[in-house]
């Protein structure tokens, strides 16, 4: 069983440890209802940021449309669970949201991903606005500007945690594979990638679709945890919030996205007592980080357990080479 290697067991242990810590804190009462909201917000932001990082950090495409795909997931889960208020409904809602978001991303991705940089950002921004305006005008199905309320509280922090772990593992698997390297090659130099037979449009689109699907999952969690959703929660500003997490953590570092989502989430909680000063202090914190660490908290570094485990092995492997050189 190659799946049961040291590295994967290490990761499993790490996830279990984090879970045990949170569960412990909940049981002891450190995490009350108020902090639980912050916790779930962080977990949802982790999913969003990891997905957006795949698009921006790995395929190198600048997307500002993440909130739109989140809205699709939120409304899909909201509409379905209001009809079927149980975990089956939640699953159906999540999956249908992911399928719709994936299809929308595929349809808009193929023409827009030919654009580069600022142009793509504007185009994806437009896509998110189209999704939002469409939801506003769907009449009874989405309830227009008032949004949906009374969505059953089906998601818990545990479900959000599971979803976040699931997304992190999937995206990390993807980026550390041959297709992932092909995706990175598009970011590094698309002309060279094409000259090696890499279909650049394809890998850009796959990254964009995967990002959209994970955003939709985050949206479904949001809807079924907070119970109230409205189109104004999924504006351009929401996309920017996610972008901030990605840039703050380091473009191209999944670990960075996770840490940044947690740090910014905690910062937000601690700044609550400052009232209206909160946003100013939050912005100042961002400015300071960008001045002193412009590549984000982690740059492109990752937490790689495989490196820890293999360090010893490598050292012993290297030695014979040195001896050979000495013999010459």
């Amino acid at each position: 069983m190659r799946m049961l290697n040291k590295t994967n067991i290490g990761w499993l242990a790490l996830f279990l440890l984090v879970f045990a810590l949170i569960q412990g804190a909940v049981l002891v009462g450190w995490i009350d209802a108020f902090y639980e909201i912050a916790l779930v917000t962080i977990l949802i932001n982790v999913i969003l940021a990891v997905g957006l990082n795949l698009i921006i950090g790995y395929s190198g495409q600048f997307s500002l449309g993440h909130a739109g795909f989140m809205a699709i997931g939120a409304y899909a889960a909201g509409i379905v669970t209001k009809q079927i208020p149980n975990y089956g409904g939640l699953l159906v809602g999540m999956l249908s949201g992911m399928v719709i978001a994936g299809l929308v991303a595929l349809i808009v991705g193929i023409p827009t991903l030919r654009l580069k940089g600022d142009y793509l950002a504007i185009a994806t921004l437009g896509v998110a606005e189209i999704i939002r305006v469409a939801i506003l005008n769907m009449g009874g199905l989405t309830n227009g500007a008032a949004g949906l309320s009374g969505i059953p509280y089906l998601s818990t922090w545990f479900i959000a945690f599971l979803a976040a772990v699931f997304v992190i593992i999937l995206i990390a698997n993807y980026t550390r594979s041959s297709v992932g390297r092909a995706t990175i090659s598009v970011r590094e130099d698309d002309i060279a990638a094409e000259s090696l037979g890499i279909n650049t449009t394809r890998y850009k689109t796959v990254a964009f679709v995967l990002g959209a699907v994970t955003a939709s999952l985050a949206g479904s969690l949001h809807a079924t945890y907070f119970s109230v959703i409205s189109p104004d929660q999924f504006t351009f500003m929401r996309s920017i919030d996610i972008l901030i997490i990605v840039v703050f953590g380091g473009i191209g570092s999944l670990t960075g996205s996770v840490i940044a989502a947690a740090v910014l989430g905690v910062l937000n909680v601690f700044l609550q007592p400052f009232g209206s000063l909160r946003m100013i202090l939050y912005a100042l914190a961002l400015i300071f980080i960008m001045i002193f660490k412009p590549s984000g908290l982690l740059g492109t570094k990752e937490l790689q357990l495989s490196k820890w485990f293999n360090r010893k092995k490598k050292q012993t492997q290297r030695q014979p080479v040195k001896q050979k050189e000495a013999a010459r």
Binding site: S178, D189, I191, G197
Partner: protein
């Protein structure tokens, strides 16, 4: 046996004809040189043949297993899959990736598993990764780059970067390899090493090599046939001896009436 046949190839940029009416044939396992003064259209010709630009007129046919495939209208990555690889005048490595990863990206089309297997890490994924790493290390060994496999490409010395770009192109298992000024920026000793390297590649990998080069010692030493371009037109074509004796070529390079 003819491998590639190019007829009346023309590329116009607005009013400028960068390449006009070029005929060219390439046989199996041949070493061909492409020379000409600066701005003669050599790199444009490479870009046309590898699909970076689409030609204004003319045809490019690739002969594969006895059947002829037209490359007109095909994307660069499709042409690469048909067995046409290249390097670039200004090195285009994936700078922030390791040497090993650069080569593994070249191997992706041949061994890479699909998105689904990669997301879920099926047993096939692990097999493919192992196979790719093994093949990449084999290639790197041929070029004595295997001990630097973990280095980031941007940290390699210049000569190694040039060689890595060639290794990466070879990873796609090409039938034809286009080298755009491989000796640019190299000192005479490195140029000599490069000459040997190109011969070795052509023999070991069983392919045709076309190279653009300004270093005449490399071109005259290595190439069996030479095409000379000037102002986008084919000026001369022949063996190194014929080209050396050609008055038109001397005029194009040194000036004269």
């Amino acid at each position: 046996m003819t491998l590639m046949k190019v007829e009346k190839l023309t590329k116009n940029f607005g009013g400028l004809s960068a390449v006009s009416g070029v005929d060219l044939t390439l046989k199996n396992k041949e070493l061909v040189g492409l020379i000409g003064p600066n701005g003669a259209g050599k790199t444009t010709l490479f870009n046309l043949l590898t699909g970076v630009y689409s030609p204004s007129e003319g045809s490019i046919d690739l002969v594969q297993d006895g059947t002829t495939v037209s490359l007109i209208g095909k994307r660069t990555d499709q042409i690469a899959e048909l067995g046409v690889a290249r390097t670039f005048q200004n090195i285009r490595l994936f700078k922030n990736l390791t040497v090993l990863d650069n080569v593994r990206i070249g191997l992706h089309n041949k061994y890479g598993v699909n998105t689904f297997s990669s997301l879920l890490r099926t047993p096939g994924f692990y097999r493919a990764e192992e196979k790719m790493t093994e093949e990449a290390m084999k290639l790197l060994e041929v070029f004595a780059l295997d001990e630097k496999a973990d280095y980031l490409a941007k940290n390699l010395p210049y000569g190694d970067q040039r060689r890595l770009e060639i290794v990466r192109a070879l990873a796609t298992d090409p039938k034809i390899l286009f080298l755009d000024e491989p000796a640019a920026g190299m000192n005479p000793r490195e140029s000599v090493e490069l000459t040997q390297l190109i011969r070795q590649i052509q023999k070991e990998f069983d392919l045709s090599v076309v190279l653009i080069e300004h270093d005449m010692s490399v071109v005259m030493n290595v190439c069996e046939r030479i095409y000379v371009l000037e102002h986008g037109r084919l000026l001369a074509h022949g063996t190194p001896e014929e080209i050396r004796a050609n008055k038109e070529v001397v005029r194009a390079y040194l000036g004269g009436e």
